[in-house]
Symmetry: C2
Subunit: 515 residues, 2 copies
């Protein structure tokens, strides 16, 4: 794989074959992460935020949280000054917030290609792919269990998507690989098929440790000791419960100075109260307890405060997406997290739809827009999510990823330079004139407007002649084009061999397990 | 028609038939217009706004605007202190803004059912249907020229859509009716098939006068003299040109104290500069000149400052929708209009897609969300727009109208009452528990979450068993259901007869014209 990659890519490797490859190489455009030049929407006023903060402190002190089957965690909390009874940890008011204060407000997640490294926090926004679906769907084969080949396709698509900054983690579950060995193949895909930053395994502490070791091969042991090279997803078992598996992975990552997203996973009405303010209170309490715990494991460990929030359809019990309640919570949680001085993770290409149809796009756009405007710093699930997260959609991945370009341009704000003001154009054209030919337009039109790479802008007749394709069909064509053009990024053959050897050795040490 | 309406509706008409009708009547839920309880997103800072305002004054003074073929308008401007040369009107700095100051910041548009009257301006938001398409599309018959029967279907759907506050105007062009007689049939539909507020004709000053006269029959002459009962769309011929037809209609409406939306219609790059700030400058100059002119026609006449803005696809020349440039302009124009102290019209269910597919929903949601957050007071085209405004879609109308409910709930903000805080629920459930059964959930779940009336939340298997319908198919079913259940609102038979007599007489006075 790595040899092939080197031959195909030919970047900086010298030699005739490399030079020939250079001339024919597919150009990968990759936008830098978003640095917002626009304000956030501050949905709640200070009085509301202070009330929620006070309530969250009450929740932590009076109700407390559970760290289940984790005596070491209970010891850490006891030592920090919490009241520990059984596995219940009651945290005195002010303590959790104080512990959170040692987490950095912003950190760099390094990619093996330094140009793809991302700054997480501040006014920045980083997009990462869908995470977790056991199924995939495409137009050709429909809905089916995901395989490692599907996984690789998503990694390739993310690599080739201009507006996608991150390779993600479990872009889909490779169900054809034994459960206890999946993380090796997933990490191999991220490490070799892409040069964007990625996430590590969290399904067992030992798999987190494997992730760190593979990063040490990829980046070098010293580099990993001093830098953050993974940002991994640690879900809280809402309400108010931190299970041993997730906390075990967090412990591994925090101690290795690797970043965790500490994130309540809430279906409102089931795992949290049915109200926005009540849910925000619970989210804040959970996030503060989880982030505080990361700092008990290693003071200064990088962390992202997350909020995955959806509502329940009270008729069917199904989770719903792109809803106004989720939007209000996303805005409010952003404000609360900023007051904690932490990077914020929320929003995504959420939808409950079974198909990449209008419903899926309404719901996705609602969520993407609120994600930008609520100050999200790390948006997991930014493309490809379908059917409540059960399905990763290839076609939706590319159309969602295209829409991320809308957010990029919107986040850039308004150019108020003389060119932006365009007074010369207004003077040249005058009443009743046409701007297409004027000097200002000629000088600026190429970069003036964001342009979709997949949506259809053609006149009706042309569009009809070309088969009258809907968005899913346009997405399918784009998936095929990108996968056909895909070429892996260059990778040192020694490193590639090292990764392969490590994976082969570790896989040989364990029997296959399928659950 | 009116007799039937009375018999079927039976609201407050007494008698046994009426009482029987009452029991079986279809209940029409109609939400009040939105009163925002959330902040607007203030995209531009004061320095940027002041620069654009200064530039707009420069445009008006140095470049000026054209009032073509309209000697009376030129006289009015000359008298007001403008420099008039030929049909070019150069407006000294400060004059247009000063003239705008007599327009009301907020006004009531009365509906014949007082419960449906709307307050336009302030923190309010009123939704109105798509306006202007010559074609309609539905799943059964595809794309075709619109007829008066299609027009009536849209009026019925708007009447039955809970989140749609307004019946609109030219919801589609009834191309089967002679051009010079269409306005009669369109107004009849709005007046008899709905009891929501509506728009008048603007395609000729005489048709505006007909609209006023029909309103005098519907509301009473005295009521119309003292109240605003129509809000009609006056487009500016950008750049900087005010044609005699549109201005003639504006003159009729302003003098009758009826409201006009004074609105640049801009495809950026063609009718305005390719930059956001340049377009905002032109929009502000045009809006100020147009609103100022309305006040020269009648000081205090109600008016809405509009901005219809899209970009051009520089490859194909096609207009594009749901783009970030349009969003930035919509946000900025909202700020500029608020600083003028006027109600603001912008955004809508815009899309360039040919089908009600994912593209149409991405683009529509982008625009709807920015419409809410940019402080729009009157959103024309809030549902049903397709294919760049060439097509009105029945299925998209109902799915868009459903999404307007998302904006309603979002605009309501966060309930910070004790019930909203839900501390009792958090205490009752505790770590690891479940909120579905708790007392707080039981007391509040019915109203806790916005719920779509058309989108699919069912489990995959149920959805598949029911035919695996996409959003367009779900929309089709909803259209059929609503049209089947439709019953016209009650109307005094004398008024209905009066309208019919007026229309019959006026139609008989003129030969058919088809262009």
């Amino acid at each position: 794989m790595s040899d092939t990659a080197t031959r195909k890519r030919g970047r900086g490797t010298g030699g005739g074959a490399a030079r020939r490859a250079e001339r024919t190489a597919v150009r990968i455009e990759a936008a830098r992460y978003i640095e917002r030049n626009i304000p956030n929407l501050e949905m709640l006023d200070d009085a509301a935020l202070e009330l929620i903060e006070a309530n969250a402190e009450t929740v932590l002190e009076e109700i407390g949280v559970v760290f289940s089957e984790n005596p070491a965690a209970l010891d850490r909390w006891r030592e920090a000054g919490a009241d520990v009874q059984g596995d219940r940890v009651r945290i005195p008011k002010g303590l959790a917030r104080k512990l959170c204060s040692t987490a950095p407000a912003q950190f760099t997640q390094h990619a093996r290609n330094p140009e793809r490294s991302v700054e997480i926090g501040g006014r920045n926004l980083v997009f990462a792919p869908v995470y977790g679906p056991p199924f995939v769907r495409d137009r050709q084969l429909g809905r089916r269990y995901a395989t490692i080949e599907d996984f690789r396709s998503f990694v390739k698509l993310a690599y080739m998507s201009k507006w996608m900054h991150h390779s993600g983690g479990t872009v889909c579950e490779p169900t054809d690989i034994p459960v206890n060995k999946r993380h090796f193949d997933m990490l191999m895909a991220h490490m070799t098929l892409s040069d964007k930053p990625f996430m590590g395994s969290v399904t067992e502490p030992s798999r987190a440790a494997d992730s760190v070791e593979m990063c040490e091969i990829l980046f070098g042991k010293e580099f990993v000791a001093e830098n953050t090279v993974m940002t991994s997803l640690i879900n809280i078992n809402s309400p108010l419960t931190f299970d041993a598996t997730m906390m075990g992975a967090l412990e591994v990552y925090a101690q290795a100075n690797q970043a965790c997203i500490v994130s309540p996973f809430i279906v409102g009405g089931a795992m949290a109260p049915v109200t926005v303010a009540g849910t925000l209170t619970q989210v804040l309490a959970e996030v503060m307890a989880g982030v505080a715990y990361s700092q008990l494991c290693r003071k200064g460990a990088p962390v992202i405060a997350g909020a995955f929030v959806t509502s329940i359809d009270m008729n069917s019990g199904a989770p719903t997406f792109g809803t106004p309640e989720a939007a209000l919570i996303t805005y409010g949680a952003g404000q609360l997290v900023r007051r904690l001085g932490l990077p914020y993770r929320s929003a995504g290409s959420f939808t409950g739809s079974k198909l990449p149809d209008a419903q899926s796009a309404y719901e996705t756009s609602n969520s993407l827009n609120m994600g930008l405007l609520s100050g999200v710093n790390f948006m997991l699930h930014a493309a490809g999510w379908l059917e409540g997260g059960l399905v990763a959609s290839l076609e939706k991945f590319v159309t969602d990823a295209d829409q991320l370009g809308v957010l990029h341009t919107l986040a850039g704000g308004v150019d108020m330079s003389e060119t932006g003001q365009a007074m010369d154009a207004l003077r040249e054209v005058g009443p009743g004139g046409h701007f297409l030919g004027c000097a200002h337009t000629q000088a600026n039109f190429k970069t003036a407007f964001w342009r979709s790479q997949v949506l259809d802008y053609k006149p009706f007749e042309t569009w009809a002649d070309e088969g009258g394709r809907d968005t899913a069909a346009l997405g399918e064509a784009r998936v095929e084009k990108l996968l056909a053009e895909y070429q892996p990024p260059d990778l040192d053959p020694g490193i590639a061999d090292g990764l392969e050897d490590y994976v082969a050795r570790r896989k040989a040490e364990m029997p296959d397990a399928f659950n």
